[in-house]
Symmetry: C2
Subunit: 107 residues, 2 copies
């Protein structure tokens, strides 16, 4: 089920959390330990960030023994794209003239 953009915006508003998600998108599945090594904050802080990202649907976990692997779920970004393009659409639809639109965009 698609989630509203609220959780997504709130989750991605924090730089540390965004960096963790970005690392998972760039380099694929990683353990909490690996993520902690790059995060610059303590392991419990990373775990809490992962909890927030998981609640927003942005990451998924996979347990393997005492290791926990996390991977990005970039499909969860879809509502964000939807909302953003919808804002642009609302704005654009208020003009009939395309040139007028482009002129205003360069203002």
């Amino acid at each position: 089920m698609p989630r509203s953009p609220d959780l997504l915006f709130r989750s991605l508003a924090d730089p540390t959390r965004r960096a963790i998600f970005e690392g998972l998108c760039r380099h694929g599945e990683q353990t909490v330990g690996a993520l902690t090594a790059k995060a610059g904050v303590s392991q419990p802080a990373v775990s809490k960030h992962l909890g927030v990202l998981r609640q927003a649907g942005l990451v998924r976990e996979r347990h393997e023994g005492r290791l926990t692997h996390y991977r990005a779920q970039p499909k969860a970004l879809a509502p964000l794209l939807d909302w953003t393009s919808r804002m642009a659409t609302f704005w654009e639809s208020r003009f009939d003239d395309l040139e007028n639109l482009l002129n205003r965009m360069d203002q």
Copy 2:
């Protein structure tokens, strides 16, 4: 000058602020008073939200006597679209096989 997505995410993380911006995108230029009437919070609160949105480049103001009109600047959403699509790109580029990609997206 393009801004980093950080200010954008932080600015749009608040529901009230996002509603104000959405109202400006939907219905065009509006005064602070008109925005306050729909916001459900006090006028100073709206002014502060507009200040945050302005600092993020998401809105612009136009003074006309004692009225202040605000309008959306949806072009400022571009870094947000860039970041989001970049995340998807990073993630996709880690697979050679397109079918494999699609399968994983449906997981």
